[in-house]
Symmetry: C2
Subunit: 237 residues, 2 copies
C-alpha cells in the first residue's frame, strides 16, 4: 500500500501526472486510507508503467485508455503502428539535425537543393554576396510562383554558367550594380550581352540574367540600381 509520491518516484512521473491519469480514466482510482490519502497497489504500478510507455511513445492519452483494455490482438497491431510512427519520427529528427547543421553555415537551408548548388557555383565564381542574396530571393519567389518552371529555369541557368562567355558577362553585370548610370562602360556591356545571347542562345527563352521584375520583387531596399535600370533600357531599345 504505497502513497502517490512513492508511486510517482517508482514510475518516474510527477504526482500531478498520476492525478491527471485518474481524471482521464486511464488509471483506476485506488482506495483511500483513513485520512483520505490514495493508497496504491503493485497493480497500479504495473498499469502506470504501461501508460507511461505508451504515452512516452507519443500516443495520445485518450488512445492509451482504449489500448489498455483492448484485446491482445488489437494491442499488438496498435503497437506495430506506434512503432512504425516512432521510426518515422526518429528519421524526421535526424533530418532536422541535418537542417540545423546547414543553418550554421549558409543559406542552403532555405532553398531547394538545385538552387543551393547553383548558388554554390556562383559563390565559387566570385560573385558578390549582394548578388547571391538577390539570386536566392529571386529563386524563392520563382518557386512559390511556379515550382515546375523554376526547376526548368535553374537547370538551364546552371548550363549557361558552364560557358565561359556567360560567366564573364555575369560577373560584369554583378560589378555594374554599383556603377553610375552614366558610366561609359554600360553601352558596351549591353552590346556584348546582346551579342552573346544572339550568337549562343537565340533559340532559348532565356532572358538576360538580371530580370529586373524579379530583382525588384526580391529585395526592395537593395535591388534598385540606377546602372541596372539603364542597362535594362539599353537592352530593350
Amino acid at each position: 500500500m504505497i502513497t502517490i509520491g512513492r508511486l510517482a518516484d517508482y514510475a518516474g512521473v510527477t504526482i500531478k501526472a498520476i492525478r491527471h491519469y485518474h481524471e482521464r480514466g486511464l488509471l483506476a482510482e485506488p482506495d483511500r486510507d483513513a485520512s483520505g490519502y490514495r493508497r496504491y497497489t503493485a497493480r497500479h504500478a504495473v498499469d502506470l508503467v504501461k501508460i507511461r510507455t505508451l504515452a512516452g511513445a507519443g500516443v495520445p492519452l485518450a488512445r492509451v485508455r482504449d489500448l489498455l483494455d483492448a484485446d491482445p490482438d488489437a494491442l499488438a497491431s496498435a503497437i506495430t503502428a506506434i512503432d512504425r510512427d516512432l521510426r518515422d519520427r526518429i528519421a524526421e529528427l535526424r533530418r532536422t539535425r541535418g537542417h540545423l547543421a546547414q543553418l550554421r553555415g549558409g543559406d542552403q537551408l532555405f532553398v531547394a537543393p538545385d538552387v543551393a548548388a547553383f548558388l554554390d557555383d556562383l559563390r565559387a565564381l566570385g560573385v558578390s554576396e549582394r548578388q547571391l542574396r538577390l539570386e536566392r530571393d529571386g529563386w524563392i519567389l520563382m518557386r512559390t510562383a511556379s515550382p515546375a518552371d523554376a526547376d526548368a529555369w535553374i537547370a538551364e541557368k546552371r548550363g549557361l554558367l558552364a560557358e565561359p562567355g556567360f560567366r564573364a558577362l555575369y560577373l560584369d553585370h554583378d560589378a555594374a550594380f554599383d556603377w553610375s548610370p552614366d558610366d561609359p562602360r554600360l553601352p558596351g556591356l549591353a552590346d556584348r550581352t546582346r551579342a552573346w545571347f544572339a550568337a549562343h542562345h537565340s533559340a532559348t527563352e532565356t532572358r538576360p540574367v538580371h530580370n529586373p521584375a524579379i530583382a525588384r520583387l526580391a529585395a526592395q531596399p537593395e535591388a534598385s540600381s540606377p546602372a541596372w535600370d539603364r542597362l535594362a533600357r539599353l537592352l530593350r531599345g
Copy 2:
C-alpha cells in the same frame, strides 16, 4: 509579393501558423495591399523556413524569437545545444522502441532487469503464472519501499534458486497454494522447509519464500490462500 497562402505552401506550414508567428513576434508583419491582404517578400520566406527549422527541432517559439536576432556566436552555441538535445531525444525514442517491443511480450517492462531475470528463471523452472504475478508484484512493492534492499534480496534469492533443494521447495510451495488447509501434506512441507533453511542458511536473514505480508500486499484478490495461511502458522509455531 506573394500571399499568405503561397508562403504557407512554400514553407510547408498552415496559414494559421504564420499568423501565429506574427502574433508571437517571430515573423515581421508584411505590408498590406489595397484590400488589406498581407503581401510577403522572399525575406519573409527565408525567415519562415528558419523559424520552422528551429521550431521543428523542438525549440520553444519564445526562444526562437530570441535566436532570430541573436548575434552569430550566440546562435552557433545555441544550435550546438539544440543539436545535443536532438541527439538525446533520438536516443530516448530508441529506448522507447525497446520498451514498446517488451510491452508486446511479457512483464519484463515493468520491473528492473535483475527482477526480470529472476522471473525468467522462475518461468523456466515451471512455476505457475499466478505465482509469477505474485512475485512480480511483490518485487515492485519492495522496490518502491527500498530499492537498495530489493537489489540485495533479489541477488540472494537468485542464488538460492541455484540450489536444487530450494527449487524443489519453491515448487512445492507454489503447488500448495490450491491445497485445502487440512491437506495432510502441509505439515510435512513445513518440516522440510524449516529443515532446509536450518541446514543451509541459518546465517542469512532470508525468510521462507512466501512472505505472507508481501504476498497479501501484492494482490488482494488472488493472494489469499488458506493453505498458505496454515503453512505460515506451522512455520511460525
